[in-house]
């Protein structure tokens, strides 16, 4: 989950998020170089004794500062497109879970084998046990098996919502009357937090998402007990 004063991404829990982190590192280094260069040029401009201000014929430098940025953009675009297409790969999901957004809670449906359906409300702060995360915990977590490709079908019952879990690299809008699909694989067991990411009314900040990934055996036990 996020920690206070956090500036960077949360740790990656799915392969796509790992790829996104690496792409971000790559782009950030390029941005850092450009910033350093600009700072240096500003410093040069402030300390020069040259004062010639007429327009000059500057064919060569114009060529350089057109070609170089084009190269930089290509260096950023190629890995970006690679990750983009990686996100769209077909991966034969083992399980389909539906997440329906309401004002102001989520409903999760597991209808592949049994008819398992439950609501997930935020635990209000006054009912929160000690040591739990304020405004992030829910009464029923969304359980899923780890290391299995999962298909999520996301929709809404009333207004726009958005199902987002940053550590999995997932953010998908929940649109009423529409099914949006996303797929992911969770590589490790754990508990991952997210929050509704589309303004949906008074309690938009108070409908979090908690995903808990378990080994398959434990997930099947939970599924049998719950349905």
């Amino acid at each position: 989950m996020a920690h206070p004063l956090q500036l960077g991404f949360q740790d990656a829990m799915s392969p796509i998020m790992e790829e996104l982190l690496h792409f971000h590192d790559h782009t950030l280094m390029i941005v850092f170089m450009i910033s350093a260069m600009v700072l240096y040029i500003i410093m040069l401009m402030m300390t020069t004794k040259l004062t010639y201000t007429n327009t000059m014929n500057a064919q060569e430098v114009e060529m350089i500062w057109t070609i170089l940025p084009a190269i930089v953009l290509i260096t950023i675009a190629l890995p970006s497109l690679r990750v983009l297409y990686l996100m769209d790969e077909i991966n034969n999901p083992h399980l389909t879970i539906k997440a329906i957004g309401h004002q102001w809670y989520w409903t999760y449906e597991y209808t592949d084998y049994d008819n398992l359906e439950f609501d997930s409300y935020m635990i209000p702060t006054q009912d929160l046990p000690n040591g739990y995360f304020r405004l992030l915990e829910v009464d029923h977590r969304m359980m899923m098996p780890m290391e299995s490709p999962i298909r999520m079908l996301i929709s809404a019952e009333d207004v726009l919502h958005s199902w987002a879990v940053p550590s999995l690299g997932v953010k998908t809008d929940a649109v009423p009357g529409r099914l949006n699909q996303t797929t992911f694989i969770v590589t490790r067991p754990g508990v991952f937090y997210g929050q509704c990411s589309e303004i949906c009314g008074a309690n938009h900040s108070f409908m979090p998402i908690v995903v808990e990934s378990l080994p398959l055996q434990h997930f099947e036990n939970w599924s049998t007990m719950s349905s």
């Binding site: 280094m29 850092f32 910033s35 350093a36 040069l44």
Partner: protein
């Protein structure tokens, strides 16, 4: 990594991003070598600083790209090994076990 990461220019976390620290250090070294070398050769101060800056950018980017490329290849190898280890345990002594097919081929000869 540590909680309070050290961020160059406020954005680049050199402690936790793989290859970042080495790239910046090699870049600084490259900048010093190129800038100082140019100054010793020509005694032009401003131009030497420009060369130093250019050397910094080129050395850092070069080191970064080389290191990240190798890091990516390593990660792919790690994933293949992990998958292989998982499959070995899963398929041992079953029909899918590649070692079993090899042994039976040797036996038949």
């Amino acid at each position: 990594g540590s909680e309070q990461a050290f961020k160059l220019l406020g954005i680049l976390d050199v402690q936790n991003i793989p290859c970042a620290r080495e790239s910046i250090l090699y870049g600084s070294l490259g900048s010093l070598v190129v800038g100082l070398g140019h100054f010793l050769a020509t005694s032009r101060v401003r131009r030497s600083f420009d060369f130093g800056m250019g050397g910094f950018v080129l050395t850092t980017l070069g080191c970064w790209i080389y290191c990240r490329y190798n890091h990516a290849k390593l990660r792919i190898q790690q994933r293949i090994i992990q998958e292989g280890m998982r499959n070995k345990i899963l398929y041992e002594s079953s029909d899918f076990d590649p070692e079993r097919k090899q042994n039976s081929n040797r036996g038949s000869n």
